[in-house]
Amino acid sequence: MPDAGGPLLPPAGPAAAVPGPAAFADVLGWLATHYNYAIYILLMMIGLYAVLAKGNLVKKVIGLNLLQTAVFLFYLSIGKIDGATAPVVWTDRPPGAEGVPYENPVPHVLMLTAIVVGVSVTAVALALVVRIREAYGTVDEGEILASDEAQEEAESARAEAQEAAADAAGARE
């Protein structure tokens, strides 16, 4: 990865910092210039909510996808430079030449990989959901847990009895 075309966000600069107890106008101003960050946070929260709160296994997977998409958006925001071109799109002069800033390609490359990872995870998740549906007859987390619990209870009662019996059998000798 050659030198990134534009400056990255300054480390602790005002752009990166989340607005503190500033005036309302400042918040609005931040939102206006950094709306992509706001959207990423919003998307992420929605995704997180779905993953944690939804009982439907498919909806959880959708939440996971939202979460990942939010991260993609975050990464692309990092590499974004106002008025810059894509590193592979030629106008009259190649990107990187004097006066033709290009966007940082690295986050894009990373996200390409992350998307593939995300697709793989989703594929495995959906395959598991299909199998779960076949095995339990439902994709509702509550019902699955209830069904497991009933089975588990019966088994542990049996196990306890067995263990006690084993102890007693040893004791009889």
Binding site: P11, Y75, P107, T113, V121, Y136, Q162, A166, D167, G170
Partner: protein, 491 residues
């Protein structure tokens, strides 16, 4: 070829993983064992080479010939050589062990697929360990995780499916946090190579005060804590270990969470740097200390109540990962040495214990604790294995587990954390309670029945190697210099 070793130890299992589905059902197992044997030999060689290097240097390997900040670099130093050796060694032993076990537990048409995914996971875990690039770390983490989901879901009961699914959801959540951490790190430093990031920090120490960096570290910590099942983020782990096929359980329990813990060490010490831990975000260190100590106490307490051997061992692993993290929180040479020793010690003990569970599943078809009854009579060697490994878990002197506790206690005293001592002792006592319950059933509840046969030698021999390791590592100072060198290299 020696120069190419860092790439080869990853590529060989990967290559074998791809060849296995193409090879016939007969050749598949041989291929798995061969690939992992080669990887293990390579890792041992790397360990030796890493220790021959002067202090502070590492074996570096640029993939594709692109040097570090641009390309992806594999780095082997004293710390990850230790982890790599543990990983490949356990993987090889499990590969030897699993032929008969998988034949019984996995549907025949799926066996080659299982082997292939197993190798992929081994390669993924080794990749996490060897890489010197934070994004590559994420990719390997996900390779290892996705394969783990699949390997878990192949368990025989339907609960395995749900266990795999829960792990997938929480694991992906953790991975997303890690990805965000990487993003923040990149945002502030503009590079992904670990050494390069460290150099940026060294050049611009004011970065440590940046909220972006702190956020990045918090994301890494939470994400990796989820992946390593650090209490109270351990929810996925007992189900996953308990429901997975036996071979998966052995391998996962012996290696997987520890590799995530290693990643945390790598990120905290190599990427962020020692100084950041001291001054940057002390609250994370305190939080880790509290989490580790809670894990150490709560894990064995929860284990006591379990009726399923694999679930019991899984809860005990929840406690044991606390030992591995404790060194990071204590943050001194002795504490780190204790934790690094535990990479090997716990792999040997927990691997052996899950082998016993696997032997139960193989012979008795169940992993209920009650099935241990009379094991001492039926299968004396397996029962001895259980005894030795359980003693090592308790930390009986002359077993490997004692050395871990000794060094952690020393580190705690040195750090002035007196409260850690009762935590360690309480955990030993709780561990003794469940270990005693297992041994009681295995040795002192026998009946004068016919002497049934033990599991086949192909399963017994590799598990006995793990058991012997519990003793050898406790008496012969093999692991200690390695762990100490790793600890000193980090500080």
């Amino acid at each position: 070829m020696d120069a190419q070793l860092p790439a080869l130890v990853i590529v060989v299992p990967l290559l074998a993983a791809l060849l296995v589905p193409l090879a016939g059902r007969r050749a598949a197992w041989g291929l798995v064992a061969l690939a992992l044997l080669l990887a293990f030999a390579g890792c041992v060689r790397l360990l030796v080479r890493a220790h021959a290097l002067p202090e502070g240097e590492a074996i570096r390997y640029a993939l594709g010939g692109w040097a570090a900040p641009v390309g992806i670099e594999y780095v082997v130093d004293r710390l990850n050589a230790l982890v790599l050796t543990m990983l490949s060694g356990v993987a090889f032993l499990v590969a030897l062990w699993m032929r008969r076990s998988t034949a019984r537990e996995i549907r025949p048409p799926a066996v080659t697929g299982y082997y292939s995914v197993f190798l992929l996971m081994a390669a993924g875990l080794m990749g996490i360990t060897i890489t010197g690039d934070v994004f590559n770390l994420y990719v390997f983490l996900e390779i290892a995780s996705i394969t783990a989901y699949v390997l878990i879901a192949m368990g025989r009961r339907r609960q395995a499916l749900y266990a795999g699914y829960s792990y997938l959801i929480l694991g992906s959540l953790g991975a997303t946090f890690i990805l965000l951490g990487i993003g923040h790190l990149y945002m502030a430093t503009g590079t992904l190579a670990m050494a390069d990031i460290a150099a940026v920090f060294a050049r611009e120490p004011q970065l440590y005060d940046s909220s972006v960096i702190r956020t990045a570290f918090a994301f890494f910590t939470v994400g990796l804590a989820l992946k390593m099942a650090l209490f109270p983020l351990h929810g996925w782990q007992p189900g996953a270990y308990a429901e997975a096929p036996s071979a998966t359980s052995v391998f996962l329990a012996a290696t997987a969470t520890k590799v995530s813990a290693y990643a945390l060490y790598r990120v905290a010490f190599t990427v962020f740097g020692v100084r950041f831990l001291e001054t940057g975000l002390p609250v994370v260190r305190d939080a880790l200390l509290v989490m580790a100590c809670s894990a150490i106490v709560v894990g064995p307490l929860l284990a006591i109540r379990q009726h399923d051997l694999k679930r019991l061992l899984a809860y005990s692993s929840v406690g044991q990962i606390g030992y591995v993290v404790l060194g990071l929180a204590l943050h001194n040479a002795d504490g780190l040495t204790g934790s690094f020793l535990h990479f090997w010690n716990h792999a040997a003990a927990k691997g052996a214990l899950f082998c016993v569970a696997g032997a139960l599943a193989y012979r008795a078809g169940t992993t209920q604790v009650a099935a241990l009854k009379g094991l001492g009579r039926r299968a004396p060697l397996t029962a001895m294995l259980l005894t030795v490994a359980a003693c090592s878990m308790v930390g009986v002197p002359l077993t490997a587990g004692f050395l871990t506790k000794w060094y952690l206690a020393r580190g705690a005293l040195e750090a002035g954390q007196w409260a850690v001592i009762p935590v360690l002792l309480a955990s030993s006592l709780f561990t003794a309670v469940y270990a005693w319950r297992l041994l009681q059933l295995a040795w002192f509840a026998d009946e004068d029945g016919p002497v049934a046969e033990d599991v086949p030698w192909s399963m017994r021999a590799p598990s006995l190697v793990l058991g012997a390791a519990c003793l050898v590592l406790g008496v012969a100072p093999l692991a200690l210099p390695v762990a100490q060198a790793a600890a000193e290299a980090l500080l």
